[in-house]
Symmetry: C6
Subunit: 79 residues, 6 copies
């Protein structure tokens, strides 16, 4: 994780916003478990565990809501 | 999953918005577990598991809130 | 589930909004598990499981927030 | 549960709003498990289960957010 | 719990808002499990249980969002 | 934890906002389990537990939404 990883919430498209949300969901995990080795091991387990995959998707959804609001939902104008 | 899958949050009706929310909930799972085979296996388990079904529905609800806001709740005028 | 089931988020009263939220919570489950038979079996289990009932109620709460916002909380005027 | 139980989200004080949120969290449970007997049995279990109590509190929090917004957070003027 | 415990969401600082959110998370538990004795017993278990501690923190986060909005995020002016 | 730990929600960058959200997620845990020793023991377990790591990340996401709104998503002008 580079030292500066979140300089802005503004991105060009919803899809980039979604990718940012995925990153944001992962960084909190990295901050609590900084070891790449342990995270890799955990990953081999949870990527085969439907409950964990759904829980991860839920965190992405919460972050995406924030990113989308930050970008005014990528609407042309704000009236 | 096509390379471009989320070009806009604006859809014509609440129901299309709901379907988009379902897609958005699933893509995060795909990004963590890209193997179609493994996801298919996981699915045969979790689609018979009430807890997992309810948890999935919760992710859809969070994304739907975002999509609905993006479409100003499909009210006639937005300005 | 009829083909068109979510044509509008606008309903006359908070209680109708709550009922719509309940429906919205259930449809995601139906979309993942379309078999009426399997859902009926799951239901006999989870309707006796406090954790699942509370989790369902949580999904309803998230959808209700969206429906309530869509109806401007059923306030007389918007000032 | 009376037939009409949610006629308005507007209440006079935050505390009444909190009590409404508690009611809203419970009604979804009642709609999925209408039997008073079964709910009473479930209750004797989950009211001794910290996880279930915390999960219930989470549903109350989500509904309270909606009720609070509906009442403009009980600020003096709303316009 | 005094009879009147939530007369206003307005507090002077974010930290007081956080403390209010903690209180709001706990009151729902008290309303479902009014016995001080049983809650004390439950507490000795769940305060040693990381999952329960994290789940409690999640409820605080939801209430804090509401309290923060009620206080306009403690910004000087509202423009 | 210093006596005053949350004097403002306004921070200069999204990344500082994220770090504040991480702090806010942790403080609720500290308030329920004040013993540094017990928290340290819990931590050695849950930092190896994917479910707990994801649940923590979810709390961060909820707090980040609040912090981001408080900073108007770090957009140039706020008025």
């Amino acid at each position: 994780m580079p030292k500066l990883w979140l300089t802005s919430l503004e991105v060009s498209t919803p899809q980039e916003g979604y990718e940012l949300a995925v990153l944001m969901a992962r960084v909190a995990v990295k901050m609590t478990q900084p070891s790449d080795d342990i995270r890799r091991k955990l990953r081999t387990v949870y990527e085969q565990d439907a409950d964990a995959l759904i829980a991860s998707s839920s965190v992405v959804a919460t972050h995406f809501a924030t990113v989308a609001a930050a970008n005014n939902y990528w609407k042309e104008s704000q009236c």
